[in-house]
């Protein structure tokens, strides 16, 4: 068997599968294809892939249902492919265990970056106490943050928020998830807290807080911590 990572594509559009197939093969991935949700679930069970690209609009079973069934036993990354203007669908999928999403039409570069990031995050899961993103160093153990200018003062909540994003670096965390984890279940509709705190963290960490490079806004969905390089 080759050691190229296997990616399973579940999408009913032959053209989309073909395109993804060529793109992924040429970047040293092994590609498996399924045209329906049922077929996808069976193939994932027979040859568990390193990651799955799952289209939400499948002809036989709802993509959310496929995601739910896969997540009962499958723990590798699942990336959702969806159409534009479907924030609700995306949030629902992310809250149900999807690792990331891409809206069609997407750029190949974007797809490959997300896939790499998702595959990498799986390896990072063994709690490394030090997270480095570009110049930003986050020490989860000593609860300190520093950049090229030295130590940055953080309040407890600011740090908790940044640490949560750091532990899930590369992954989109939904507004509701962040609010529940940091402030508690009673606060899931208080998204203004989240925005104020994100703005404060950006003021402390970004060169130009108006053009953030670390904490990226996913409009209508949530935030993700990325490496600016």
């Amino acid at each position: 068997m080759s050691n190229r990572p296997a990616i399973l594509i579940i999408d009913d559009e032959p053209q989309m599968r073909k395109l993804l197939d060529i793109t992924l093969q040429s970047h040293d991935y092994q590609v498996l294809q399924a045209a329906t949700g049922k077929q996808g679930i069976t193939m994932a069970a027979l040859h568990p892939p390193e990651a799955i690209l799952l289209d939400l609009g499948l002809p036989d079973i709802n993509g959310h249902q496929v995601l739910k069934e896969l997540r009962e036993w499958y723990s590798n990354p699942i990336l959702i492919l969806s159409v534009q203007n479907s924030e609700d669908d995306i949030i629902h999928a992310l809250d149900n265990g999807a690792n990331d999403y891409l809206t069609k039409p997407f750029r190949t570069g974007e797809l490959l970056a997300r896939l790499r990031s998702a595959l990498r995050s799986r390896l990072l899961d063994q709690q490394t106490p030090l997270v480095q993103m570009g110049q930003l160093k986050i020490d989860l153990e000593s609860r300190t943050v520093s950049n090229e200018l030295g130590l940055i003062k953080f309040t407890a909540t600011e740090f908790n928020l940044l640490a949560l994003l750091a532990r899930n670096r590369g992954k989109v965390l939904t507004h509701q998830y962040l609010l529940r984890e940091i402030w508690g279940p009673g606060y899931i509709h208080q998204s203004q807290y989240l925005r104020v705190f994100i703005a404060q963290i950006r003021k402390k960490t970004e060169k130009d807080p108006n053009r953030p490079t670390y904490i990226i806004t996913e409009s209508g969905i949530g935030y993700r911590l990325t490496d600016p390089d």
């Binding site: 203007n85 909540t157 507004h175 404060q200 053009r211």
Partner: protein, 360 residues
């Protein structure tokens, strides 16, 4: 439809005016009745009823006709001050009088009805013309990128030996541009049909004006534009509640309009403020601007300036206005000095007083 409601709203006035006119003419004629004879009075009254028939609905006219017939009979036909009629001639005259007044009323009612039908037909023709404009601009806007893609791929597939690597790159680049253009038009069409169907339901959440505008401009700059965009946002602008996606779409349409219709090297200014609970955003450019006569019309669907360059479906500004209205806001166009256009969006919104949270 509209003329119908106007009729109904005015109908009480119609009764009042019709009756008053009849009373007025009868009153004025009364002192002169002896001198000019009661048959002339009948003609005067008939003229009055005819005037009401031209102006008013059928029922007020019939009432005017009836009232004038009774008045004529009571006050003018001898014997006076009774409804009795002395001679057969007068009896025939009265019946004829009433008949002519009635025919008058019915005829003018019919004419008006035909006018209305003609107007409806004209409106329908206008809609068809609009639809044709849509088909023309759409088929142009969709076919051009499709033609580009087909031609470029044909060339790449069958002409590979003669193409230099540079030319190959150019062709691939053209396919990319065509695809983006198609995507943009499909977005426009989807938005338009969502607006038309009344399907847009804003999902309001807390928004940061600076983040929205800087994000949008950063995106446009990454795509490559030849103008300089300057952003001025009051740093004290609070968070406000609106549908971020819709607001972004509005601003994107205004900005891409400014980018496509102003010369390279000029500046585009975006100003954002919040006064009371109204978020105001202006987008001003240094382009040719809009003639005063076309300022309102540019927001109409499929409207294109008479001297507009090719490309564009005339949907962008119309969508911008529709979406702004769906957010409860307004959009207007004015002049920049010394030249250019200024689009001003005003959106009333719930404002957050949570500014800086010191500690938890």
């Amino acid at each position: 439809m509209d003329s119908q409601t106007v009729y109904r709203r005015n109908s009480r006035w119609q009764y009042l005016i019709a009756i008053s006119l009849v009373l007025l003419v009868s009153g004025i004629s009364y002192p002169f009745a002896q001198w000019m004879g009661y048959k002339v009075v009948a003609l005067l009254l008939l003229a009055t009823v005819s005037v009401t028939a031209v102006l008013f609905d059928i029922i007020p006219v019939i009432i005017a006709a009836l009232l004038s017939a009774l008045i004529w009979d009571y006050f003018f036909i001898p014997p006076y001050f009774t409804f009795q009629i002395g001679s057969v001639d007068d009896m025939i005259l009265l019946v004829m009088y009433f008949l002519i007044a009635l025919i008058n009323a019915i005829l003018s009612h019919r004419i008006r009805k035909m006018e209305r039908i003609a107007l409806e037909k004209e409106e329908k023709a206008h809609t068809v013309a609009l639809y044709n404009t849509l088909l023309n601009s759409l088929s142009h806007e969709l076919r051009t990128p499709i033609a580009t893609i087909i031609a470029a791929t044909d060339n790449l597939q069958s002409n590979q030996i003669h193409l230099s690597p540079e030319q190959t790159n150019q062709l691939v680049g053209e396919i990319g541009i065509a695809a983006l253009r198609l995507n943009h038009q499909v977005d426009n069409l989807l938005n338009m049909s969502r607006l038309e169907a009344g399907y847009i339901q804003p999902r309001k959440d807390w928004c940061d004006l600076a983040e929205i505008i800087h994000g949008l401009v950063g995106h446009m700059e990454a795509e490559g534009i030849e103008q300089h965009i300057h952003i001025h946002i009051n740093p004290d602008t609070p968070l406000f509640k609106t549908d971020r996606g819709l607001l972004e779409q509005v601003l994107h349409n205004l900005l891409s309009n400014a980018v496509s219709y102003t010369p390279p090297g000029t500046r585009i200014d975006i100003l954002g403020t919040c006064i009371a609970d109204i978020i105001t955003i202006t987008v001003s450019d240094e382009g040719p601007g809009f003639p005063d006569t076309e300022k309102e019309a540019v927001f109409n669907k499929f409207y294109r300036l008479s001297n507009s360059k090719p490309g564009g479906t005339g949907l962008g500004l119309s969508i911008a206005r529709g979406l702004t209205q769906s957010l409860g806001g307004s959009i207007e166009l004015s002049n920049n000095h010394p030249q250019g256009a200024v689009f001003t969006i005003r959106i009333p919104a719930e404002i957050s007083y949570l500014q800086n949270v010191k500690h938890e």
